[in-house]
Amino acid sequence: MLIKDPGIDTIDNKPVDPHKWVSRYADYLYTYAAFRINDKDLARDLVQETFLAALEIKGNFEGRSTEKTWLTAILKNKIVNVYRSKSRGLVKGVVATNADDTDAGFFDNNNGHWNDQHRPVEMGIEQADALENKEFQQILKACMNKLPALWFAVFSMKHIDDETTEMICNELKLSSSNFWVIIHRTKVNLRSCLQKNWI
């Protein structure tokens, strides 16, 4: 159990306090970044860059969000840059071809029906209590890490960080139809990977 310092999350108008940044936020920001980019060294670098960038602009901090939220927003921006550079050049190869041809065997190309080995069967996760299962979580993480960089970026920005579709398309230079194709294929792929490894 984590015991939270109640002082951290309260909104007040106090100026930022960089002398406390590392002890207060470094582990949090590191965790945030490490989960999203799956590269611990890079995550560490991003935490450092976040603090240094925050120092440069700390005069602009207006206290309308918490210091933690503000630092997280700066980090988020850096993570999106990583996503963008990782997926640059991939857009064409991954989705620019006719979207109907690229489902890699999940569906029958003629009638759109599930192909046998990818057809969903009950996995015992349908009622959401799998959420508490550590092994399930580990498999999900492994499956996510196997996704192409661009798919992972789209999935995590949409489903984990609740970014708007417009923002994601803008940042990653995707057309709206490419976006939806990726959303669909990522989920079909993730689900199939879970089924293969969980039961």
């Binding site: 984590l2 939270k4 960089p18 002398h19 940044w21 590392v22 002890s23 470094a26 582990d27 949090y28 590191y30 965790t31 945030y32 490490a34 989960f35 999203r36 560490r44 935490v47 450092q48 603090f51 240094l52 120092l55 489902d103 999940f106 569906f107 009638n111 759109g112 029906h113 599930w114 057809r119 969903p120 069967v121 009950e122 996995m123 996760i125 349908e126 959401a128 799998a130 959420l131 399930f136 979580q137 999900l140 993480k141 996510m144 999935f155 995590s156 949409k158 489903h159 984990i160 579709t165 939806w180 959303i183 669909h184 989920k187 079909v188 993730l190 689900r191 879970l194």
Partner: protein, 94 residues
């Protein structure tokens, strides 16, 4: 609303690819009334896609939980942290 022709109905009833696409789109965006109806018809006759829909929602929740830094915090190396705070302090002193 225009009624669906028999050919259209057939296409929908058997097209799991289209149905799963609509399921994903509906979870985070809007689908049209016609699409809603198509999906309803498909799901009424396809328990496999109903299973997909349930599992898809669980995956979203599980991923969100997995990525919440408050639920499982990683620790940075203490030496790195000390160096980092020193760097910050140096910047502040300039």
């Amino acid at each position: 609303m225009k009624e669906l022709s028999e050919a259209e109905l057939k296409k929908i009833a058997f097209n799991c690819k289209k149905a799963t696409f609509l399921i994903e789109k509906q979870q985070i965006g809007k689908i049209t009334l016609k699409e809603k109806m198509e999906l309803k018809i498909h799901l009424a006759g396809c328990s496999i896609c109903v299973t997909f829909m349930q599992q898809s929602a669980v995956i979203n929740q599980a991923a969100r939980k997995l990525f919440n830094p408050d639920s499982m915090e990683l620790k940075l190396d203490e030496g790195f942290k000390a160096q980092l705070q020193k760097k910050i302090n140096n910047q502040l002193a300039i």
